[in-house]
Symmetry: C2
Subunit: 413 residues, 2 copies
Amino acid sequence: MADVSSTVRRFAFTAAQGGVTAAQGFRSSALHCGIKAKAGALDLIVLASDAPSAVAGIFTTNLVQAAPVIVSKRHLADNRAHARAIVINSGCANACTGPQGLADAEQMTREVAAGLSCDPHHVLVASTGVIGVNLVMDKVVPGIRSAVGSLARGKGNEAARAIMTTDPFPKEHAVVVHTDRGSFTVGGTAKGSGMIEPNMATMLGFLTTDAHVPPPLLRRALIESARDTFNAITVDGECSTNDALFAMASGASGVAIDEESYPALLDALTSVSRELAIAIVRGGEGATKLITVTVHDAPTGDEARQVARTIANSPLVKTAVHGADPNWGRILCSAGRSGVRFDPDRATVHVGGVLLFENGLPHDDAAPAAAEHLKTPDVRIDVTLGSGGGASATIWGCDLSAEYVRINGEYRT
Amino acid sequence: MADVSSTVRRFAFTAAQGGVTAAQGFRSSALHCGIKAKAGALDLIVLASDAPSAVAGIFTTNLVQAAPVIVSKRHLADNRAHARAIVINSGCANACTGPQGLADAEQMTREVAAGLSCDPHHVLVASTGVIGVNLVMDKVVPGIRSAVGSLARGKGNEAARAIMTTDPFPKEHAVVVHTDRGSFTVGGTAKGSGMIEPNMATMLGFLTTDAHVPPPLLRRALIESARDTFNAITVDGECSTNDALFAMASGASGVAIDEESYPALLDALTSVSRELAIAIVRGGEGATKLITVTVHDAPTGDEARQVARTIANSPLVKTAVHGADPNWGRILCSAGRSGVRFDPDRATVHVGGVLLFENGLPHDDAAPAAAEHLKTPDVRIDVTLGSGGGASATIWGCDLSAEYVRINGEYRT
């Protein structure tokens, strides 16, 4: 990322390497313990901070919650928002696995805690993979012991690769934030909506910073940054049993975040999260195009988000984009069924900046230019509701291809 | 349909031929006026009653409403719920066509009214086809005059074929209802979610009966019957600009419907509507399987419907059914994100009557039997929420195939 300076904000970002271990005070280790069948496929990660870090977490809103989600929420309730480590596995979601699944997730945290000589409540856990299958703890336990023994700096990229299921590429990003008080780093990694075998995709995200952040501010920054990043993407409108997003703040940079410097942390978390979230959509199942849907001049931000999300999830819009068809009618009609009130005669529809609909009527002459834009891998759809409210929101989605059907229909449990 | 008798209900159905003109007092005419490019393709229908009939209508809830929807609603507000005719065209939706579109829809009703010597407010109008294109009235007006001049009984099947766009087959159904007071007939036709060119699909339905029904009872029966039939189906979760459902009651059978005999009318309308609605789903774009999703033991019927609809619209469930994958995890998880509260540990999931999930755990041994069921064209999914409320609801949907993507992605505006 290039330098972004702001005289108003009084801070600037520069790019950094290292992903989730770019920030000082964090080490990681990733290895193959045998959850994934393929020899050598990384399937276990331990991410640790050198000292107790402030921590915050956000979890799936699905009523069906995997064991690691339940255990991590319990630990966050008991650890006064401080943690030493997160243990993560891919290849098995440990979801719908009953009491044994909960016991296994607890045991994973205990193994890490033993290795780090900390309380098990200071260890969180996340899993992604097949639903309804128990972890083979005979492989996981030795794996965790080995991983804790080989924690090191500079191995963030291994972690980014180890959390992948059928994600087509690893996702990591980091920035250094330069402020009046000094510099701190924010980095992270995420996995997205690839499918491992024929089960529910899972979004996992891990963010680290070496800023010193009081837990309430870290939690607030995580929630606020996720709203317009991880919570503003959609591949197929499905919400997993295992979705989880964590942020850890080690304080190792010596830069303290308070109310005054909060905007710098929030912007950095948002920037890193946006990169990771958009990468998840680009790597969505069968996706060939990123679709950025922005709704303007809505009564409220929530209503703008609701309209944008309905458009981004519309199968008719997604197939039209896949086929490079400038079908403003499908865009307008999905807005019209979103549940948000507006006057269609005051609405406009742009595709790739090309005005296709206004005053209740199409601009047929503009269709060829919009069709050209739709052949590119970065598609922009802008809908103005004309409510006078002035609120806007962006949702990132992707096209719907026959490959999505193949991926999700041809595998077998 | 075989005889269905009920000692409690004191009425019975027998099958009838003739679709939308099976009931006495109705005539129709269908012809090619030139809206569709293909020579001879039927694209214009006039459905008329011999005398003013009671009428009721239900329309799309999309904010974007086509001109024929706006005009029909206006006429229903002015005609004291009585009408002589409905004029219908396929090949052009007359939606997003501005003031000219409204003028054209009004003119269609005036041409029919002139031919039948009635008030234009006693004529309703419906259209289906491409959005954003005006009707060529130079073809439509002579077509209407010719159609009004050739109205006849026994031509209901022509009407069923003429309202098709890319529907794979015509849809019509009729029953004779035998009651203590005598017999009356209920018939109808509908079109579904084929696409004509790359625009919004439209659901149109037309029901007729020769019972004598006070307009308020007809309206109530139409709304109640649609709830569990036309409003309980989904192909892709999209709601069109032109969706419309009409019922006309001529009274020609001499059988009067009042509060006491209302159940006979409601059941007959529901029976005909269910046949037509399920036929729409079977003919859905790219559909290879009908999916009947029933949710049991929900707190309320609305909540049962909400869960069933979320499951039926889930792209992961739809692709799993397409691939004959007994993926109870996707079914449970779509229920879990439906917004309805329930305890997953008390829920059960059956596919084709085979229990796949209960007490928070899968029944892996049952998967092969469920997989066999999923290879059939009629798939049943049953989810019990275990709320103790006892409410249930059924939604009919279809699988998601690569053909859906092809139909909606490969055409061009």
